[in-house]
Symmetry: C2
Amino acid sequence: MAEQVRAIRTRQTILMSAAKVFESRGYQAATISEILTAAGVTKGALYFHFQSKDELAQGVLSEQDQRIVVPERASKIQEMADTVLLHAHRLQVDPLVRAGVRLSMDQQPGLDRSGPFLRWGEISTEMITKAQAQGELLPHVVPAETADVIVGAFAGIQSMSQAVSDYADLPGRVSALLRHLLPSVTMPAVLASLDLSDTRGADVYAEAVKILEAQDAEPDAGIKTPTA
Amino acid sequence: MAEQVRAIRTRQTILMSAAKVFESRGYQAATISEILTAAGVTKGALYFHFQSKDELAQGVLSEQDQRIVVPERASKIQEMADTVLLHAHRLQVDPLVRAGVRLSMDQQPGLDRSGPFLRWGEISTEMITKAQAQGELLPHVVPAETADVIVGAFAGIQSMSQAVSDYADLPGRVSALLRHLLPSVTMPAVLASLDLSDTRGADVYAEAVKILEAQDAEPDAGIKTPTA
């Protein structure tokens, strides 16, 4: 059991170091030996978990967004907005999330960029479908179409923010995006009760971290560490 | 004069070849010798026009969107939508535009990615400001904010389309983006007269090319070749 926990920790250390190297150097320029140096682990330990640079990149991509999540909300449209605003905030503070986005935007042959788009598309479609079932949306809405617009638009807004301000203006830009998109799909009475402000992401993050810390304080916390 | 025309043509040949190499290989992996081979020009000819790979990339970026433009429209919101839909269509058919977008999305140290975002932001702000002055927009609209949402969102929608379908589904995605964004900024009566369909981009392209061909048929057409 102790060995298993150690292996999970080593895997996390390698992924965090890979994230930092991928974020600063990009997929193509990054080398496994740079990641080894950054992680401070042996070659054997790294290859036990990841056979190649591509597997490391896929590991970083799939490791995003697994532990810090938006708590369930009564309004599913608020829950979706919170997911977007939380992700924007995490881009400012979490190297794993920054690297994941950089990797999914990098257009490298051999690295499939479609995964994160499709995964986020499915998550968003599910939330929008729930919002529709609850009567929160205007009758013309096609959930998968609206989901893809939000996912694609967010990807570009974050890229623009990274290019012009290194993410400093991201919360404001994402708030503006939601204020432009949601009125065309949301019932007016629901719209009036949404919080789409640029400080919302940091608040949701603090809330999510608090919930996570409470879980980690429980005796069986070790088992909850993601192993995907 | 003949020599000047030849120099302009050589420059265009080099830029088209650089565009293809940048698009398929990315900025970092692309080499000047690959571009030389693709262009079929001498090293001297290339260095006469461009001193470095960075200058070639900046040349490709600044060469976009200069000759094929949307004709003036009575509705400035339609003109802006047409600009977006035309750009989406050109991404499907023009290597220079594809390479320009790839370069502006590539996150390479040493290559400033903010230029295209800021330039598109200014162009869009100008169009939205005109639309506002004509009374086409709802009173709360802040032109620069709406412009940045459209520019950023478009960048991501095209990246998502490239990742999941190699641009095959781009017109439908861009039409969906505009149908989601414009209702929150446009007066209902104006909105009802807009064409935001997914075939609009190809129609505007055909219209723009026709105008360009008519200009090129004039005797002084050579002078109109861009030299920027």
